[in-house]
Symmetry: D3
Subunit: 136 residues, 6 copies
């Protein structure tokens, strides 16, 4: 069993806000992250897969194929987008880093496993100080 | 003459868009940066000052004082904000990295010089691949 | 179950030295780390917590609250201090990265768990080449 | 139980190529990594060991001794070398990051354990976007 | 006048070797960089241009167009190549970082200036410890 | 004319303190940097030299020789030392980053120029947020 990690990046806007809460409660709970006009981040996503090594290639997975899955399912829907408004798989959900990591896992799991390996971890790095890891 | 650089960070939303252009022209010129619902970045600002060394302290400038100027004039107005909508000194201007560097220079020049040194460079790093430097 | 990591930083002096050993033995075992007049590092601490996501907020823990705990219990006691001389929870202990990670764990565990999550890992990065992880 | 990680670096050439495949098949499977005249990387290796802390020193392992093992068994054989042609423990094997991590594990396991700790992980970082971890 | 920097990356093999010198002299002068079977690096190229800001766009240069020039003239010829053997503009030249920076400048100057700005600097980073800058 | 930069690192203790000032004045001016029992940093030094390229080697300077100068004159005197107490060329001087950059320049200038190039810049990075550059 061996683990391989691929990093992808996307730049997106978001806010942390509940429509069923007052402005005051949103600010009390989410602070400046609740700013009505949005803010944004350079997000990094680290996707780790695991599996047995293919004897012919020495690969656990073909990185080009993994990167295509991540481009189609993660980077294209999220890059230069508003996470709250533009991303189908985040519609109606809190745009926290935690939820984002879980929803990215759900988006890619089947296609990653179709490449012949298992999905092990989705890590989302929001800033140099904050990151989240989800293991399914 | 010696040069000192202080890094500050802010996370903000923006878009590149002209209201006096059609949607099609905006997309042709600005590509995905024109996304109507915004996107965002973890911006880094590197402010370089220059001057003579104070013999008593060994400092060209007191870093705490420089950091307070940058907090008041750069980080507080920009962090967790929308550059196009929320930032007084960017109102009515293109929210490109170039314009942002120039406007930050204008915002801080007087207060930095009041600390007894000269402003040498404002560098804005938008992503790990793109940055802009302005020398006045 | 989801994992969230917060990075904090502090700059401190220390040495590796046992008073019950001769100068020669200290130098033989600890090398230049035994320098009598101390040396120092820009330490980075990565604290990872785990738990269930709060449905209302999308958070495993409120990052502001976690950061306040880390400021009070880690950064304030260690930043711009001498680990051997100034830090109550390191008194009488070897100032190795390993011991530091364990003692930070002990300092923060109760307060982190009072935030509604579990403490998973304390990682201390001493230089770009050396780090230690403690999982309790 | 505590975990300590040491980073080492080496710069090497390699290619991904099977002599028992046609040029066309090699290019179809390995893409530009199959370039006949080689390419290369600044590799980073992160070796993680685990064990109990020595009460006298506060160390899980003496970093100087660990670094000597890694210099002798990893850096010297690989640095400024061709992984396919110059490295005895890679002869006749695919020079993928996966295989490299496994073979480094085999090379260092006994000597690391002779230092009084267990080998936990060998991580090889090939580029800022790609890395592999092997846990034995 | 404002300065904009774009980073691109390529992974390549090379060696430092003169055919008109003996093996011994090559090793004496170039050390392990003379290894007959090559070694390699993850090179980073930082290209800085300067010019006036376009009032309509807020750009000194269109980053997409600059990136296309760098892809065609720098990344495609160098990535996953052997600098000594595969790169037309390095044929018959020493594959030092210095020469590489100068030859990249010559390759891109005209096309960069055709975008309406001036070429200011080509920086080539060979390792985290070594880099070269050329200003024409 | 071409510019080459070499990075070296050292870990050291220091404090900012004047014996001819009261404790109160030291704390008022230098804040936590005046901590009596020292603090410390992982310092990075970037030394930039400039000159013409040697036609035979393609080098502006032999990096091995430059690194030996920096090891002898910068890293060995400063690494795992107390800048205020242990470093001959800093005796009696403020241990600010500014003064450190200037004194490193004085220490290395002659030996760097004996290698056949000019010293262009000494940059000292104290933390990820603060750095100083000196150009003579």
């Amino acid at each position: 069993m061996i683990y391989l990690t691929r990093r992808e990046r996307f730049n997106a806007a978001h806010k942390l806000y509940r429509d069923d809460w007052s402005v005051e409660k949103n600010e009390a709970v989410f602070g400046k992250c609740a700013n009505a006009n949005w803010h944004g981040h350079n997000y990094e996503v680290f996707v780790t897969v695991k599996g047995e090594i293919n004897e012919a290639t020495g690969f656990v997975v073909d990185l080009k194929e993994l990167s295509i899955v991540l481009k189609n399912k993660v980077v294209d829907p999220l890059d230069h987008r508003n996470i709250n408004l533009d991303v189908p798989f985040m519609k109606g959900k809190m745009a926290s880093t935690e939820i984002l990591a879980i929803e990215i896992w759900k988006e890619i799991q089947k296609e990653v496993e179709a490449l012949g390996c298992q999905l092990h971890c989705v890590k989302v790095q929001e800033t140099e100080n904050n990151s989240v890891e989800y293991y399914g």
